[in-house]
Symmetry: C2
Subunit: 480 residues, 2 copies
């Protein structure tokens, strides 16, 4: 599979592929770009990052080629990997199709977006999935790839996609090109990346599941994965079919989404019965069998959990002609969809008159210690407050500009100077949890209401703050 | 609190309580009797086991006083603890009320039974809880106890019970007796016992949660618990109120019940999509955050999981005047209630004609490696087969006589001799999982169908067995 004595011209740039294994990552989103860097830094090879020729994507690729990671990343390794690749000249991003013809390994990191229909802030009834962009991406591979390439799908897809969509498209396009369809390898292996400080590490030092369309695909996938993953410590897990690995990914995320949804009603329970749900959960977590019971919060965000449980439903309906309903998954999505609304209702109860109330939201990222604001529950919460004519400013040490809302966030010094009626903690950043002074400093100002929607404040802080301010914490009826 | 120079006559038996702390366990069911033995074997004290003067209960108490544990227990420690107590003469069971007046510590282990109404094998719509027996038990304490006793409720109760039921009853009865209500201590601390081989160990060497009605009750409970639990390794977890610990217990079990219910739809998913759900779950369990995702099975049984999630709902409706529904808990109970029916439907699909079919069920205990058949899902499954006129025999190495069905189980040699059309594995006993010959021996006989409802058979066995027999495993569509 090694390309030999090969110098090619891409975007008028001379690229030397001589003696190098060529890896192509298709889709340079957050997952794809980090995966590309991990590949480029793991072995002597050349890595192409390829994406669509759209204006905003092109900009991102140019930044990458200039050694600037286009996403705000908390993991310092990402930048050092990028700098190293630029120095070694083994990484190049482009919208050209040429790299497909050199690629020994093609990793598909193309997003599949779910649109929630008839879905409002407090309702979710239906959804649809547009597979066309994904199909188009796969077709691009088939039309341009070598006939003995290894294609690894990393995207989260409805179970059955590799068998029923990817393989047929690849094989028919190869056939149209007059090439053999026997040599191509198709595999599925999903990432389990954890956003935040240990992003790169969560690719390299973690359990990885894989499968292939056939024996040779399995073998090729395993051989490749061993070059990027610390398989001595984290041996690969092989499943029997691509549909099994596709299902495993969806089930993992559905499990998580369901366990989050489960706790929503227990937060309400604690508010009604005047208990401290955080302490109760911490007591329960001591049992190894119950370690993963979730804490309450403002909602579920990010790219995966709000949609993944629906992909299995889609698969049943569309690939397997079954009208079986995955009730728990559906109910999880419905419940989690409502979470920002619950948080809003909770807020309203204590703010009372909303109009012209000056509010500072602490945190807008979808989860703690990340800058990612995609599908952040804070977005829906913000919109509800805005609709009620609150005057809102944002402080998030990880987010300079909140794209989804189109708003600049406060700088730290601005945050401390800003006058407000209420401070609302929305994201579980360690910078909030660990920096006691951050909250204490607010005491210097006029009496205000402090609402903690994710249990960042500890008892010591609460006791101190409540001498002057009104403190309300979601799921803590014991403070009423 | 130490009783001094005290010799008492109970049931015409002289009991020397001189210089001994007196512990009374109220309710000598499985949990109560083991708890009593643990207390009797942990410190120099005298332990009374007290229960109601009913015929079948009296029999049990006599057996205990004769050094015979009345339940089939897999944990050898139980018998050695009992023998030791008989030898030391620090343990006595009775229906007399006299011991209440000597008790320094009273541990309440009285069951609260939930009746499921309009509930059939495949339906569950409503439930009721009869608190009267529990209230009566508490009244008995109040009418007979010392006014400075420590009462620890260990029973699983609707959150709020200690505050709204136990404390008022105790205090009013003390008052009626002209005693102070100031000195009494009321605490709640729930057990997390694991049935099976390590029963005793799961009391002593495990995390324990506790709370008290006031500071002195907390202190007294903590002091007592330290004498029976290895708190050096497993420090006690204190919660702020008895309602919080009551909730913690219910939430723990609801979490478990819900995670079991969640997997039901994924077993169906795997059957439809022809996957191996067991392998998928094993792959997912490698993630520490997903270690507790459940495997599919025939259903949920035992004394706790089928009912506990309903106790919180009862509490909201009855103690807190709230009509809020705990939807996930309800849906879990509904789904888990249906599990034996799914197993039956799965069985029927492959057995086809049921009438006069000779069937051997392997396992009738509610879970692996225990003899407990209370609320066993196999019971409902058995009844469904019976209704369809199957001829059923049972083999369960832990159960000699199946009380709920009123049937003697097969001895091992009978099991091997017994002719049948189908073997159905219902319980995940290690004796089934580890003893390969057990299943292999069945190969000697005529071709039959082997249905595994809990994934005991591994791939090697399946491959061997399927040369001659028809193998079907719940949740494994890949075998079709």
């Amino acid at each position: 599979m090694r390309s030999k004595k090969k110098i090619t011209l891409i975007d008028n740039k001379k690229i030397d592929l001589t003696g190098k294994e060529v890896v192509l990552v298709q889709g340079m989103g957050f997952v794809g770009s980090v995966m590309a860097l991990v590949c480029a830094n793991s072995k002597k090879r050349f890595v192409f990052g390829v994406d669509l020729p759209k204006k905003n994507i092109k900009k991102k690729l140019v930044r990458l080629n200039n050694g600037k990671f286009p996403f705000l990343a908390e993991d310092k390794k990402i930048n050092s990997y990028l700098k190293n690749s630029i120095k070694k000249k083994n990484f190049y991003c482009t919208t050209s199709l040429k790299p497909y013809s050199y690629a020994d390994i093609i990793i598909v990191d193309v997003n599949l977006d779910v649109s929630k229909q008839n879905s409002s802030i407090n309702k979710f009834t239906n959804f649809s999935l547009d597979l066309e962009p994904f199909k188009k991406a796969i077709k691009t591979i088939g039309e341009n790839c070598k006939d003995d390439a290894l294609i690894i799908v990393e995207s989260t897809v409805p179970p059955g996609t590799c068998k029923k969509i990817v393989a047929p498209i690849i094989k028919s396009t190869l056939k149209e090109r007059g090439l053999s369809e026997k040599k191509i390898c198709i595999a599925h292996s999903y990432e389990r990346v954890m956003p935040g400080k240990n992003y790169v590490n969560s690719i390299i030092n973690f359990h990885r599941v894989y499968s292939g369309n056939d024996q040779k695909s399995c073998h090729a996938a395993s051989k490749f994965l061993k070059t990027i993953i610390n398989t001595k410590k984290y041996p690969l897990t092989k499943l029997n079919s691509t549909t099994e690995t596709e299902t495993a990914k969806i089930l993992e995320n559905s499990f998580r989404a369901m366990n989050i949804a489960f706790m929503v009603e227990w937060s309400r329970f604690s508010e009604i019965t005047k208990l401290n749900i955080y302490n109760i959960v911490k007591a329960i977590r001591k049992r190894p069998t119950h370690k993963n019971i979730m804490l309450p919060g403002i909602g579920v965000g990010g790219y995966c959990l709000p949609k993944d449980p629906l992909l299995a439903q889609w698969s049943l309906n569309n690939f397997y002609n079954s009208n079986k309903n995955l009730d728990f998954s559906y109910k999880s999505i419905q419940t989690n969809n409502l979470m920002p609304y619950y948080a809003y209702r909770f807020t309203k109860k204590y703010l009372k008159k909303m109009k012209n109330k000056k509010i500072i939201l602490m945190g807008c990222a979808y989860t703690g210690d990340v800058s990612d604001t995609r599908y952040s529950p804070v977005e829906y919460y913000y919109k509800l407050l805005k609709k009620n004519k609150c005057k809102i400013k944002i402080y998030d040490p990880y987010v300079k500009y909140w794209n989804e809302i189109n708003i600049k966030t406060l700088k730290k010094n601005e945050f401390f100077k800003e006058e407000s009626d209420a401070i609302i903690i929305c994201t579980d950043h360690h910078k909030f949890r660990d920096n006691k002074n951050l909250i204490d400093n607010l005491m210097l100002k006029k009496k205000k209401i402090i609402i903690d929607l994710i249990g960042v404040l500890n008892d010591r802080e609460i006791n101190k703050l409540k001498q002057k301010h009104e403190i309300k914490i979601l799921g803590r009826g014991d403070l009423d």
